[in-house]
């Protein structure tokens, strides 16, 4: 029931393309039987009129793609309809549509660059450097633009001159900061030329993520020698070599040879790189490279085995630090705008703790110490004394004294899991007030795989009659959205969910009143049911497997570096069902890394 409610507003479909196609028979039958009650004539739900096409036997290609997306996700007809197609009927209809219009698909470009987290991860793992002049290595680079929700998206990771310059500057800074003793170890013992060649091979292979030929090694070594001159000592020569390796396009760029018509399986090295950048935000280690070289990554079992090993490695902490924070929209929480005069105590340090609370919960899930559902069901959390004080949680004496993080239970008035985290509640607020719209949108987008479509064309952002806000409660303001039917169709859903979080202020503390109005967090869903506060929202998103599908979709986007397309729906859906049953994060990772999308390249669509 709930899933149907959540999804019902994601109806926007691809607009009218000129091409029309014949409606395949099984689809026609399904539309007649299950869809036309609501999608007939001028009052069609969601503006999707299907009776005309069914009568003609022909349908706009874009509309058919939209139908396919809904059928693939099995969320139309709504789950609360008494009569729904069987799984076999759904599958047959989707297959029939795919035979008429190929589902939209996407492929990552052949060449993409590392993002700054991956660059810093490689520097940490290959050169052992985590800080330069006291600052983390990634701070040497400008923040990356974000696309499709993540900073791993290939098309958004541009390389303007400014970025190239920063990468070169950062390489020089790292090379200069390499401790003399580390340089002393590089290349082992032996005569200078042999030593230089050994260092070039070790660093080059680790950074370029593959074996190097003799010629490649010699070229690196020769160039490093030439850079500093023949009389230079070992240290400056090694620093020059390190700089060279860090600036080299074989390091900075990820290049996968384009695929021919039928696609191709990626090479072992290519799969190894994908695994390492996904699970570690870094380059492969020697074990992963050895597996690649030995053919160990050519089979699903081999890939699965490496993924299991890698998830248990501390480097997999990057999944919490880079994936979770972007999925849950709490990245760079320290830089979010808040009203500093009203929320004086909410400084950067406290906000760091807020973010870390969310990262810690996710990390436990990623390590397999808690099931995936803990993210929306956990009734306990880990907090620092500072964060506990902010929440109003009791702080044990020893923690108060030491400042150490401690585990505690979440009081019943707060929703479970990340839905009650201050980081999330802050990230979805305006600087000086809560935003039920943002909170509702966040739940639909991040938690329920039911991102509301943007407002339809032609709808003014603010209704002209939205005057005289002063003195009204947020609930009264939200009611304005319903005055315009175009807004209402989605906003009643977003707003109902968002308003259920009103007991939490813009920085995530509980409150009993706002702007002189008593808090009322009992809201009504469009179908007449009531939501009693944020806890009920958690229960709502927990129904069905929408939560797992949302997590799968976001994690796959992060892993692959591109947005998901229709063609990805079937495998993502099947994966979500599996993870719903097992509750294991590892299964989710296995499903992604053994997918065709991860292990193969197809030609660009």
């Amino acid at each position: 029931m709930a899933a149907a409610f959540l999804l019902a507003c994601g109806m926007a479909m691809g607009g009218g393309t000129a091409a029309e196609v014949v409606i395949p028979e099984p689809v026609k039958g399904m539309l007649e039987e299950h869809c036309l009650d609501c999608h007939r004539g001028r009052r069609s739900k969601g503006g999707i009129e299907l009776a005309g096409p069914v009568a003609d036997g022909r349908i706009d290609e874009g509309v058919l793609r939209g139908v396919r997306a809904r059928l693939a996700r099995r969320d139309m007809p709504p789950l609360d309809e008494p009569i729904r197609p069987t799984d076999a009927e759904y599958a047959a209809a989707v297959q029939a549509i795919d035979a008429v219009v190929a589902p939209a698909r996407r492929e990552v470009p052949s060449v993409r660059r590392l993002n700054r987290a991956q660059w810093a991860g490689a520097i940490r793992d290959v050169f052992g450097v985590e800080r330069v002049d006291g600052r983390p290595v990634d701070a040497l680079l400008p923040p990356d633009d974000v696309g499709e929700g993540f900073d791993t998206t290939a098309d958004t990771l541009a390389l303007p001159t400014l970025a190239v310059e920063r990468f070169v500057d950062a390489a020089e800074a790292v090379a200069q900061s390499l401790p003399a003793e580390a340089l002393g170890r590089a290349g082992g013992e032996g005569e200078r030329p042999a030593r230089l060649a050994a260092a070039a091979r070790a660093w080059g292979e680790a950074m370029f993520r593959r074996a190097l030929t003799e010629d490649e090694v010699r070229a690196l070594a020769d160039r490093a020698s030439a850079a500093v001159g023949p009389d230079a000592g070992w240290e400056p020569t090694a620093r020059a070599l390190a700089t060279m390796v860090m600036v080299d396009p074989r390091f900075l760029l990820r290049i996968e040879a384009p695929a021919a018509a039928d696609g191709r399986a990626l090479s072992g090295d290519e799969v190894g790189s994908r695994l390492a950048f996904f699970l570690w935000s870094s380059v492969p280690d020697s074990e992963l490279r050895a597996a690649a070289a030995g053919g160990g990554l050519d089979s699903e079992d081999g890939v699965r085995a490496q993924a299991t090993r890698m998830l248990a490695d501390p480097r997999a902490g990057s999944l919490a630090r880079r994936f979770a924070v972007q999925w849950l929209a709490v990245d760079r929480l320290e830089g979010r705008f808040i009203d500093g005069t009203r929320f004086k105590g909410v400084d950067a340090a406290l906000r760091t703790d807020m973010r870390l609370e969310t990262e810690r919960l996710f990390a436990r899930v990623a390590r397999g110490e808690a099931p995936v559902r803990a993210l929306i069901e956990a009734r306990s959390t880990e907090v620092s004394p500072r964060l506990a004080a902010h929440y109003g949680f009791p702080v044990p004496e020893d923690a108060a004294a030491s400042g150490a993080w401690f585990a505690c239970s979440v009081p019943p008035e707060r929703p479970p899991g990340v839905l009650g985290h201050a980081a999330v509640l802050l990230a979805t607020s305006n600087p000086d007030r809560t935003s039920p719209v943002k909170r509702g949108k966040w739940v639909l987008e991040a938690m329920a795989d039911a991102a509301p479509p943007p407002p339809p064309p032609g709808v003014p952002s603010i209704p002209d009659d939205a005057k005289g806000r002063a003195g009204r409660s947020i609930r009264e303001l939200m009611a304005m959205h319903r005055s315009n039917p175009d807004c209402a169709s989605c906003h009643v859903r977003m707003d109902a969910i968002g308003l259920a979080f009103e007991r939490f202020d813009p920085v995530g503390r509980t409150r009993s009143e706002a702007d002189g109005h008593a808090i009322d967090d009992v809201t009504e869903l469009p179908d007449g049911r009531t939501l009693e506060g944020a806890g009920a929202v958690a229960a709502l998103v927990g129904e069905g497997h929408g939560f797992e599908r949302s997590l799968a979709r976001h994690l796959a986007t992060y892993a692959l570096g591109r947005g998901m397309a229709d063609a990805d729906d079937p495998w993502l859906d099947a994966l979500a069902v599996r993870v719903r049953a097992s509750g294991r994060f590892e299964d989710l990772v296995h499903g992604i890394v053994t997918s065709r999308a991860f292990r193969f390249r197809d030609p660009a669509p």
Binding site: P109, V111, R113, P142, D144, D145, V146, G147, E148, G149, F150, D155, T156, A158, L159, P160, T161, L162, V164, E165, V168, A171, E172, L220, A226, A227, V228, A240, T243, V247, D248, P249, R250, L252, L253, I255, A257, Q326, A329, D331, F337, D339, G340, T341, N430, P431, D432, P454, P455, P456, P457, G458, V459, S461, I462, A466, K467, R469, A470, G563
Partner: protein, 454 residues
């Protein structure tokens, strides 16, 4: 907060080892005898033309942006424009200019993302959350090309500055990638230039690393030359194995590396006059105003030393929801721009409009204080100040708020209102600015002609 930028022979502080060189020498290509280089430059060309584009987001409160009534030919520094009083005689107000491509055109909401993307490109950006970004090329990059092709190319093709880093949410505005909202300078239709937001880093980028000794710098540059050389040959080798359509980022990489190589060749190192007082990075207040004004000072110095002749400065990202406690606005900027007629919000919005005008004035002041052969730098600089949303509450893109500042040598007719017929493309003005910078284009974006500067 700001240390005055004085002509010569004043205090040198803040920076370690800045070597003093008269700017003409500093500009001389390496290897040329200074005398020859200087002689090669006539007095007339010695003071190059410069252009800066200053962008502010979220439109204006029209009642605060004091456009004079029809028929009047001069404007007055009132309302949000009051801080510009001292420069009124060097600022022309344009009316009637439009960015038609910032409108939905069937793509639905997303006016903020489209506005930043369209501001200097005149293009209608492709609606995408990240995959397959498409926008136009921006006018500053056309100008940068013209400068690069000229007899006296600058070290930096162009300089991109801004006060906010890119946003972290993937979808900043109704299905548009944040890259659109955070960039006004586009080198190619899929290549936003990014921007430097840290004044100190911007300074180091223009003038070299502060605190680095000449010996250390020479040693580093020697290695860098070799590193870049190796990078170029590697990139070429990799590129040879890929078709043109697949090279993508590899070509961007190659362009960037070559640009750095070229800079090593063109670069004699130190550029600042003896005694130039440097921006006070440590002492400046850690406020929005402090940050923006420092960026403006760095930009003025970059112009002064001819490190670049074209630059962009985003006072904030489009759609920014930053509060402005400095002017007592605790709500977010975007939030108050959609005031819905609420008097308190409208007033707060106007204060932000005014605050940004103050930043514009501070930049003009930095230019004006900076002297070049005794003449104000503003004299040879055109500064376009504006945005691609008109009324922040309505999201319209016609009759955009646009001011153009420029001194005596620029042809800007200060104090006047230059009225174009309603619906005239803003790109017509971009064309004229580009032309003045030596970029002769027949068309740009959706241009339909020219809008004169004066």
């Amino acid at each position: 907060m700001r240390a005055p930028i004085v002509d010569r022979r004043t205090v040198l502080r803040g920076i370690g080892a800045t070597i003093a060189l008269p700017w003409l020498e500093a500009m001389a290509p390496r290897g040329l005898a200074i005398g020859r280089a200087a002689a090669a430059m006539s007095a007339a060309t010695a003071r190059p033309a410069r252009t800066a584009f200053l962008f502010f987001p979220n439109g204006v409160n029209p009642s605060a942006w004091a456009t004079p009534m029809d028929g009047l030919t001069t404007w007055h520094a009132t309302g949000a424009l009051e801080p510009l009083a001292e420069f009124r005689g060097r600022i022309a107000m344009h009316t009637g200019l439009t960015h038609a491509n910032a409108a939905a055109l069937g793509d639905g909401p997303g006016d903020h993302a489209r506005s930043a993307a369209c501001f200097l490109t005149g293009a209608h950006p492709r609606k995408t959350a990240g995959d397959d970004l498409r926008n136009g090329r921006s006018i500053d990059q056309e100008i940068a090309d013209a400068v690069a092709r000229s007899a006296r190319p600058t070290r930096l093709r162009s300089l991109e500055l801004g006060s906010e880093p890119p946003m972290t949410a993937g979808n900043c505005d109704s299905g548009y990638s944040c890259a659109y909202s955070a960039n006004i300078s586009w080198k190619a239709d899929n290549l936003p230039n990014g921007k430097e937001t840290d004044p100190r880093k911007a300074f180091d980028r223009v003038f070299g690393r502060t605190g680095e000794s000449p010996e250390a710098r020479a040693a580093r540059e020697r290695v860098r030359r070799s590193v870049l050389d190796g990078a170029v040959s590697q990139a070429r080798e990799l590129g040879a194995r890929l078709g043109a359509a697949d090279r993508g980022r590899l070509d961007e990489y190659l362009d960037g590396v070559r640009d750095l190589e070229r800079r090593l060749d063109a670069d004699a190192g130190a550029h600042l006059d003896p005694g130039t007082t440097l921006p006070d990075f440590e002492g400046a207040p850690k406020t929005v105003a402090g940050r923006i004004d420092l960026l403006g000072e760095v930009l003025a110095l970059a112009f002064r030393t001819d490190a670049t002749r074209v630059a962009t400065l985003m006072l904030a990202n489009e759609g920014s929801n930053r509060p402005y406690p400095e002017v007592d606005v605790s709500s977010g900027h975007h939030d108050v721009s959609h005031h819905g007629g609420d008097a308190a919000k409208m007033e707060a919005f106007a204060r932000i409009n005014r605050f940004h005008a103050e930043r514009f004035a501070a930049f003009l002041r930095a230019l004006d204080r900076t002297r070049e052969d005794g003449v104000s730098l503003l004299d040879s600089t055109v500064v376009l100040y504006g945005g691609a949303i008109t009324d922040g509450n309505r999201h319209n893109h016609d009759d955009l708020p646009v001011l153009v500042a420029g001194g005596a040598a620029t042809g800007v007719s200060g104090g006047s209102v230059l009225r174009s017929p309603h619906g005239t493309p803003l790109c017509n003005l971009h064309l004229s600015i580009a032309e003045r910078m030596g970029a002769r284009l027949d068309r740009f974006g959706d241009s339909s002609g020219r809008v004169a500067l004066g």
